[in-house]
Symmetry: C2
Subunit: 326 residues, 2 copies
């Protein structure tokens, strides 16, 4: 699978070997953006595509899995956020439909890893701290995603950033560490490998592609975002990063005056992510995106993004005066 | 000055040439930790040492400048936080005492840059966003420090992290970008260069050295810190990162219930940084430190830190399979 003519940093084959893919670049399984079309496009281009089940009922997830299989013969996976009340049904769905790769997040790695492993699934869990990465290894996962504070969407309470987190996680565990959070350009991919990562997981950059299910307004908002565009809110009820808008300003105002959990849940309401990402309501929706948004200035096909990331990585290495290995 | 036998990333000579130093590694001018002894030790080891004037009256700063000159013949500089009421006196003090390098922070780059440049001073300004880095360039500064949210001590309100900030700042300006925030190990130095930096500014790692004026308790706290040890508070009155303790728990509780600026100023009280950093009160002081603290596990002489950073950088590059240039 692996392309032996690729220069560093794609020489580290732990992640490509683990998943049977060409590039150690993983497209995050984002709610309302990462369906079968996006995951299959990334898989066909040589990365690992993930279906984001966070916005799907089990039957819809099953349809996306079947569709992805019809669109690609390459490996793909499913992300399952464990805060979902029906997480066990989602887990059963991926097993029943023969998915071989599962990323779990927003919960304990102990919960489903043994069951998934019994069924031959490769399991990766997402954590926001080096401390928690040890629990992932102990739970028997095959790899861990160390996701920094700059990531879009749901996030950890400790606010540890990618450049601080990745080396500490790499020191803490023996399983491969996949860096995530704020990565939207190949310069950052190359940097992540130097920090000790064996792969990268990239969200927002893939949410702003042709195959993403996100609304065109959402994609335009990411393109227009600068480095200060995103905000981090809702620590009391579930921290998340999103593009600042009229609704987040109300949240900020409420948080500044010490609003209760109840009031924040009321302000959040229902289907806020769907409204922001899928329906494109840029004023009142939760427009989840990472701090890498400022580096994104187009909405190309996902395959072009993947190819671009690889080229940028090589270019960053060349520009820095780093010679090819071999 | 530069050592031509050094491997990448020390081939980028913009920062070494600008300051006339050997390694593009700058020791941050930290309050209560960075006096003449630390700045001179770093200068003698080939980095750029900065005296932190944030905790000094003009006459004490003058004494530190004279002492640094007696301890090293190599270039050193002074950091001046512009939020100080007597910033103009500090600026005059550095000019009167022939300091050739000044880093300004916590204010507008326009305020003193023209005056300092008239007096032949090399001026660098610290910013927390790519957007503000453009203003630094427009103000005529020679370089800009792009400091991420993971940095210890005072910080910007936008909470942009180093891995997201540095490439965006490098794209935004033509002057050299110095990366700061969370950097305590050579892996991160190498990563910073791939992100587009031409140098790094490192705080906490140098605060936990023999020559640092910080209290031994402070240094021990940094050594014992893990990746989740630091917290970010006081956004309403001046955001800062510090090691969590009894006092920060009270601040967190007050902030969660929406405490006013007045109440937070009351909770902060006076000389909280001195208490935490210089007097070593780990329960009630403001123990400023960055998220890189989890990577720090000893209190060596500053020269050993500098040498270690260079060795780690080279090792990271070697481990990643990156060949030497030439």
């Amino acid at each position: 699978m692996r392309d032996d003519t690729l220069p560093w940093p794609f020489r580290d084959t732990r992640i490509t070997d683990l998943f049977g893919i060409r590039y150690p670049i993983i497209q995050a399984g984002m709610v309302w953006a990462a369906g079968a079309k996006l995951a299959a496009a990334v898989a066909n281009a040589g990365g690992l595509g993930l279906i984001g089940s966070g916005s799907m009922k089990p039957d819809l997830l099953a349809r996306h899995i079947r569709k992805a299989k019809s669109l690609t013969g390459s490996p793909f996976g499913v992300n399952i956020p464990l805060l979902r009340g029906d997480a066990d049904e989602l887990v059963q769905t991926v097993i029943d439909h023969g998915v071989r790769i599962v990323f779990t997040s927003a919960g304990s790695a102990n919960r489903f890893t043994p069951y998934l492993k019994e069924h031959g699934v490769t399991v990766v869990h997402v954590v926001p701290s080096a401390t928690l990465s040890k629990k992932v290894e102990a739970a028997g996962c095959d790899a861990v995603v160390a996701e920094g504070f700059e990531a879009g969407g749901h996030n950890g309470p400790d606010m540890i950033t990618t450049i601080a987190l990745v080396p500490q996680a790499a020191d803490a565990v023996s399983i491969p560490v996949i860096a995530a959070g704020g990565i939207a350009h190949g310069r950052q991919v190359a940097a992540a490998f130097l920090l000790g990562a064996a792969g990268v997981q990239i969200g927002t950059r893939f949410a702003a592609t042709v195959e993403s299910s996100a609304h065109d307004n959402y994609k335009r908002a990411v393109v227009e975002a600068d480095d200060r565009a995103t905000v981090f809110h809702l620590r009391k009820i579930g921290p998340a990063r999103m593009i600042r808008n009229r609704w987040t300003d109300r949240v900020a105002e409420a948080e500044a005056r010490g609003a209760s959990r109840e009031e924040l849940l009321e302000l959040l309401g229902r289907k806020r992510e769907m409204r922001g990402i899928f329906e494109g309501d840029l004023d009142e929706g939760q427009v989840e995106a990472g701090q890498g948004s400022g580096l994104i200035c187009d909405v190309p096909p996902a395959a072009d993004v993947l190819r671009g990331l690889v080229e940028q990585t090589n270019e960053a290495v060349r520009d820095a005066g780093v010679a090819r290995r071999r």
